[in-house]
């Protein structure tokens, strides 16, 4: 299986960042339509989140995912973390954070990622490692949400990640570009850090894992004070049409910029958004209406409280 034939390429990579933003806006307005904005009292309507606020909150939860995974007695490997973060991203691309509790979705995504990446953690162990809530509550969340998350991900569960690709590029450089002299171990380490940072952006919804890996390698080599332009232009993209070459280079540049200028999380701001969300959920009208159109949410409702 290759990325080029994957569902990731077919369904989950979008032409531009505007498209991604549009999808988030749609998810937001769709939810508001669903509960019926006209029926909301003025007070309730005040607590609705804007798409950007939703995005900010989901970003904050992506950091939480990492924290959660690292808090395990043996921290989860990076490919599991990446997969769960991408699941989370994809989930809230089409769904509003006001509709589904981000914490529940986060835990479910992590558990699902463990399974899909064949990094087996039993539900008992998993829930006992979870420090956010009692064991039983954690188990219940996973049980209630696992199928929902898979459904919302359209069962596209295989995620192509750039970790191995970094190895591939380094191997290729080492073999075909013998005059480059730099510390490969350090370069690899910095490249992986770059990938970790890129997980907190939308690049996984915009570029192929191979491009992310190349950007990571170029970034880290650059940080080490070396230049790989020659390798890219004359070896890697050798005998490639000029048009494609410029496109690839352009893509990589944009990608690096996106990671470099990624949105920072402001704790106060996030706390504010979370408070609003809580206030919004606390309004009784929302809750009763929610259970009307979402029949099975009553169970999860009790968990949320």
């Amino acid at each position: 299986m290759l990325f080029s034939t994957s569902t990731q390429r077919k369904f989950w990579i979008f032409p531009s960042i505007d498209e991604v933003r549009n999808l988030r806006n749609e998810a937001n307005s769709e939810f508001i339509n669903k509960i019926g904005i006209k029926q909301l009292s003025e007070e309730e309507a005040r607590y609705l989140l804007t798409p950007h606020q939703e995005y900010k909150l989901s970003l904050a939860y992506e950091y939480e995912i990492k924290k959660f995974c690292m808090s395990f007695p043996t921290p989860l490997p990076s490919f599991v973390i990446a997969t769960s973060m991408i699941y989370f991203k994809r989930f809230f691309l089409h769904n509003s954070i006001m509709e589904y509790n981000p914490e529940d979705i986060m835990i479910t995504c992590i558990f699902l990622a463990c399974k899909v990446e064949e990094y087996y953690v039993s539900i008992q162990n998993f829930s006992s490692y979870c420090k956010l809530m009692p064991k039983e509550a954690c188990e219940k969340i996973v049980r209630d949400n696992e199928l929902l998350v898979m459904l919302k991900l359209h069962y596209h569960l295989t995620i192509y990640k750039p970790y191995k690709a970094v190895d591939g590029f380094l191997l290729d450089i080492r073999t075909r570009c013998k005059d480059v002299k730099f510390n490969f171990e350090r370069v690899q380490k910095i490249a992986l850090e770059f990938i970790d940072r890129s997980l907190h952006t939308d690049v996984f919804l915009l570029y192929s894992p191979s491009q992310i890996a190349l950007a990571a390698v170029l970034h880290s080599v650059h940080r080490e004070g070396h230049n790989l332009d020659e390798y890219v232009l004359t070896i890697l993209l050798h005998d490639v049409p000029q048009e494609t070459m410029t496109k690839v280079i352009e893509q990589i540049k944009k990608l690096r910029k996106l990671v470099k200028h990624q949105e920072k999380i402001n704790r106060n701001e996030i706390a504010d958004i979370e408070a609003r969300l809580r206030a919004f959920k606390a309004t009784t009208t929302w809750r009763s209406r929610n259970s009307q159109f979402d029949g099975d949410s009553q169970d999860s409702e009790t968990c949320m409280d």
């Binding site: 290759l2 990325f3 080029s4 034939t5 390429r9 077919k10 369904f11 990579i13 979008f14 032409p15 531009s16 089409h94 359209h154 192509y160 750039p162 191995k164 690709a165 970094v166 190895d167 591939g168 590029f169 191997l171 290729d172 073999t175 075909r176 915009l206 570029y207 192929s208 894992p209 191979s210 491009q211 890996a213 190349l214 890697l236 993209l237 490639v240 494609t244 496109k247 690839v248 893509q251």
Partner: protein, 311 residues
């Protein structure tokens, strides 16, 4: 299994697996040890009904139900005397009446209805028909006749077949001998070389063999009235290499990678045979990393945006 129990000593089949229930003419079962114990003197009363029994008349119980056992026993005894056949009567109705009478007698004896009268009837009948009884006893019944005829037939067939095979073998043997003689004769008289003659003979022999029958007895060349299956021509499978859309630079095959120096041949050698288990080769790891690196490098989603995302 629990049901099998000696009514006298209450031993069950479960406690004594070798338990054997015996019955006498009255049909009441008794276990082997009880019979030994009660009838040490050769005869005595049945502990159930008080009829006097003889020890020699005890036999293994065939049916669990003692009533049936008794009925079968009586029927056997009665049929010994009432052995008339259909030929002995003039009309079918008469024969049927006779059969009904036999049934009546058996029923009366088993259910102990008018036992004395019935016994007297039997005795009378026996005396009146002494001649026919002894005559019929010496005759075989119809069924037995039929069976013996079947066996006879089978024997005959077997014999015939054996004879046939023997004849066939003898013929073959003779022919072989003749051919051998002819060969020798030719070898001594002919001017041709020995090899040629022998070859010619061998050919002849083969032809002779081919003419004989199949082992199933169907002669060669016989046409069977079976429609031959219509042969359908299928295209033969031929391997078509998978075309991969790399969307990036191609990763070479194994030889190419080695030539480019991605790995040395020595480093890829698998020294132990157990290394080969699972079909994994050291180069796969390398190839996989390169594929991951190159696949999708040229990816540009605007090209793909024409594709229906379906979401």
């Amino acid at each position: 299994m629990d049901d099998i129990q000696c009514p006298r000593c209450k031993t069950t089949k479960y406690r004594n697996p070798s338990l054997k229930l015996l019955v006498n003419v009255c049909g009441h079962p008794l276990c082997h040890t009880c019979v030994e114990f009660l009838f040490t003197r050769g005869s005595g009363p049945c502990p159930e009904c008080g009829i006097s029994l003889r020890k020699q008349k005890f036999r293994l119980q065939t049916f669990e139900d003692s009533y049936i056992e008794k009925e079968v026993d009586i029927r056997k005894r009665i049929l010994k005397d009432f052995n008339k056949r259909e030929e002995d009567f003039l009309t079918l109705a008469e024969y049927n009446d006779y059969l009904e009478e036999v049934e009546n007698i058996v029923f009366n004896l088993t259910n102990e209805v008018d036992v004395e009268e019935t016994n007297r009837k039997v005795e009378e009948y026996r005396r009146a028909n002494q001649e026919i009884i002894t005559r019929n006893r010496s005759k075989l019944s119809k069924d037995e006749e039929f069976l013996s005829r079947l066996i006879e037939d089978e024997k005959m067939q077997k014999e015939n077949w054996n004879k046939f095979i023997q004849r066939e073998e003898a013929e073959n043997e003779e022919q072989k001998k003749k051919r051998k003689e002819a060969l020798l004769e030719e070898l001594t008289t002919s001017t041709l070389s020995a090899d040629k003659i022998i070859n010619a003979h061998k050919k002849e022999e083969k032809e002779v063999k081919r003419q004989t029958e199949f082992s199933t007895g169907i002669s060669v060349g016989a046409r069977l009235n079976v429609k031959a299956e219509v042969k359908i021509e299928y295209e033969q499978y031929s391997y078509i290499p998978i075309e991969r859309d790399m969307c990036g630079p191609e990763v070479g095959e194994e030889e190419e990678l080695l030539d480019l120096g991605y790995a040395t041949r020595e480093s890829l050698e698998m020294t132990k045979p157990s290394d080969k288990a699972g079909g994994y080769r050291p180069l796969y790891h390398l190839q996989r990393s390169l594929e991951d690196a190159f696949c999708g490098l040229f990816f540009h989603s605007i090209q793909d945006s024409a594709m229906d995302t379906g979401l």
